[in-house]
């Protein structure tokens, strides 16, 4: 056990030194997400919406005059609570319930005021009850932050582990290690922990730095957010290990890594919500670890989700990690391909 710790910590230290001394890649992994966020903040510096959006709870089959209003999108909700949360975050301008003849608006939203005026002009104002909620507007930057950080973590985990191991194998660093008493388990554990540390350290630094600039919307606990980050990173690192388990070709591995990253970039809800997308796309997205990382982090930040609400994402991430890690360890070869 002492031997294990000695070897493990030596490889860990060497890997961390290697990473932090490689200034160009270190710089890039910090600058890239910050630039993206700054870009989005600039592009979406307006409120980012061109259209009015009204939520409807308990939608009835009768067609009301109000629901015929042009240039207004009507979205149906089953849960009143869910819809109220959106209203608080300014993602809805107004919420109506035709059955109880109640409407809610966010006092701090100018759009809400206009929608209220339109509603009251179309219905008998005396029958309706007004209620209001309070809440800061969620900007696109707030919404996209978990996506961008998650994507950055994904690239760092997959390429930082997968590519590095294949490079080690190709230029015989692994062969040299194999000629020592170091076991595959010790080597792989050190790679995982090193990358986990690097990814969480850099992501936290970027988060803290950007939070200072943008003052992100944060309803949940920082601990939950960090936990989701660690679990997500762990599952992505395991996927990287699996992809790199025996190839000695950087080209092939690069292709495989791209094949893994691109679907996640597009389908895991980094840039836009998957809420309205077709069922089969959501099913595909369900099997991508990044989806659970991003959705989990977003739930903590914008909905204030606690560990109970996150338990599903956590279970999926842990399962994926175990499967990838198990396969990756079994398939792992020092030499790779044939030998």
């Amino acid at each position: 056990m002492r031997q294990f710790y000695r070897r493990f910590s030596a490889i860990l230290k060497a890997r961390n030194l290697e990473f932090f001394r490689d200034r160009s890649s270190l710089g890039w992994s910090i600058v890239f997400p910050v630039l993206l966020l700054a870009g989005f903040a600039l592009v979406f510096s307006g409120d980012g919406k061109s259209q009015y959006k009204v939520g409807v709870v308990n939608k009835t089959s009768e067609v009301s005059e109000f629901s015929q209003t042009k240039f207004v999108e009507f979205v149906s909700y089953k849960s009143e609570q869910n819809a109220l949360d959106k209203l608080r975050q300014h993602r809805l301008d107004l919420l109506v319930n035709y059955q109880s003849k109640t409407y809610w608006l966010n006092e701090s939203s100018p759009n809400g005021y206009f929608m209220e005026q339109i509603l009251l002009s179309k219905v008998n104002a005396n029958d309706w009850k007004k209620d209001s909620v309070d809440g800061r507007q969620i900007r696109y930057v707030d919404w996209v932050l978990p996506g961008i950080l998650g994507m950055n973590m994904m690239f760092s985990c997959l390429f930082g582990v997968g590519y590095v191991i294949v490079r080690y194998r190709k230029n015989m660093v692994l062969k040299r290690l194999n000629a020592t008493p170091v076991t595959a388990f010790e080597f792989l554990t050190a790679q995982i922990v090193s990358r986990l540390f690097i990814v969480m350290f850099l992501s936290s630094a970027v988060f803290i730095g950007c939070n200072w600039m943008f003052d992100f919307y944060m309803l949940g606990s920082y601990f939950d957010l960090f936990l989701i980050g660690v679990l997500g990173a762990f599952s992505l690192i395991s996927l990287g290990l699996l992809i790199a388990s025996r190839s000695r070709s950087e080209e092939l591995t690069g292709g495989l890594l791209n094949m893994a990253t691109w679907p996640m970039m597009i389908l895991s809800g980094v840039w836009f919500s998957l809420e309205g997308s077709p069922e089969f796309i959501r099913q595909v997205a369900y099997f991508l670890p990044l989806t659970h990382l991003v959705e989990g982090a977003r739930a903590v930040m914008t909905e204030g989700a606690g560990l109970m609400e996150l338990s599903h994402h956590i279970a999926v991430l842990v399962t994926m990690t175990l499967v990838f890690l198990g396969l990756g360890t079994v398939l792992f070869r020092w030499e790779g391909d044939g030998r």
């Binding site: 015989m172 062969k175 194999n178």
Partner: protein, 306 residues
């Protein structure tokens, strides 16, 4: 041939890659405290052999024993290895790289001592990508010594070094040998084997074609000196009448008695212009042996076809 003091024994070792037989059922033993050389041209099977002995390649068949026990991960603690080409983790200094490898072993050698032996103190804080060829080889040797091994494997340790660096490296290896370590090295430089090795095995196309001390091999296969004459001097006389060809322009004659051969040549009217007299070295031996060997194998193959 096997002596009781052999600490490494190899029996009927074979490695096949598909149809290609890289190593063909070879056997030898290595005695404690000697420098043992595996010689041969590129592709002879030296590296495959040595990597099977290091446990990196699984043999197709045959046995390898260290200290009388089959090779296992435990035996790796007793051996030090320097590969033909090794990349190390980037961005680490010489000192850090040694520390890293030192921590892999339960009872590592004293790092300062290894660094002094390999003359690394001056470059201890330099990153290893910035080392010269000779410095890099010294670092790799130090890594091979960091576990204070009983057996040291060196795979073509001086390939690519300039003559001066090679000499220094040879002195270093001689030093290590004086400390009682057993050294097993591969090389395609015959002068290196002559300088360093107490016992050699010459390999060609996966087979052992000679095995003994360098001196014994030379005295067995060559008597006296080698006399090298330009072919143009022979006139009508066939090469096989007086010796064997060396390259396209020379003929080599084994001369037990140099004076006798010279008077023979003169009496046959052969001019002595351009004559060289030299003592045989392992290069000559290798050319002599592989010449025979190639003919023999093609004959047996032809025989098998019929």
């Amino acid at each position: 041939m096997f002596s009781m003091s052999a600490i490494v024994e190899v029996q009927n070792l074979t490695k096949q890659y598909g149809d290609l037989t890289a190593v063909n059922g070879i056997s030898f033993g290595v005695n404690r405290g000697i420098c043992f050389g595996l010689l041969g041209p590129n592709g002879a099977g030296k590296t495959t052999t040595i990597e099977m002995m290091e446990g990196l390649i699984q043999p197709t068949s045959g046995e390898i024993a260290f200290f009388g026990r089959a090779l296992d991960k435990e035996a790796l603690k007793q051996i030090g290895i320097q590969f033909q080409s090794t990349a190390l983790q980037d961005y680490l200094t010489v000192n850090e790289t040694l520390e890293l490898f030192s921590s892999f072993y339960p009872e590592p050698a004293d790092k300062d001592e290894v660094m002094s032996l390999c003359d690394l103190h001056e470059i201890a804080d330099r990153r290893h990508q910035k080392l010269s060829g000779g410095q890099k080889q010294r670092l790799l040797l130090a890594l091979a010594l960091i576990n204070d091994p009983q057996i040291l494997f060196l795979d073509e340790p001086t390939t690519g070094l300039d003559p001066h660096a090679r000499r220094n490296f040879w002195d270093l290896i001689s030093d290590i040998k004086k400390r009682g370590k057993t050294i097993i090295l591969t090389t395609h430089y015959m002068d290196e084997a002559e300088y360093l090795c107490d016992e050699i095995v010459i390999m060609d196309q996966g087979n052992i074609i000679a095995q003994d001390t360098p001196q014994k091999l030379l005295t067995d296969h060559f008597s006296g000196a080698i006399m090298r004459l330009p072919i143009a001097n022979l006139g009508d006389i066939a090469i096989s009448d007086i010796g064997r060809p060396f390259g396209e322009h020379h003929v080599d004659i084994d001369a037990a008695d140099v004076e006798q051969v010279i008077s023979d040549l003169l009496s046959r009217g052969i001019k002595l212009e351009g004559l060289q007299v030299k003592s045989a070295n392992l290069d000559d031996l290798f050319i002599k042996l592989t010449g025979h060997q190639l003919q023999e194998t093609s004959e047996t193959e032809a025989g098998e076809c019929i």
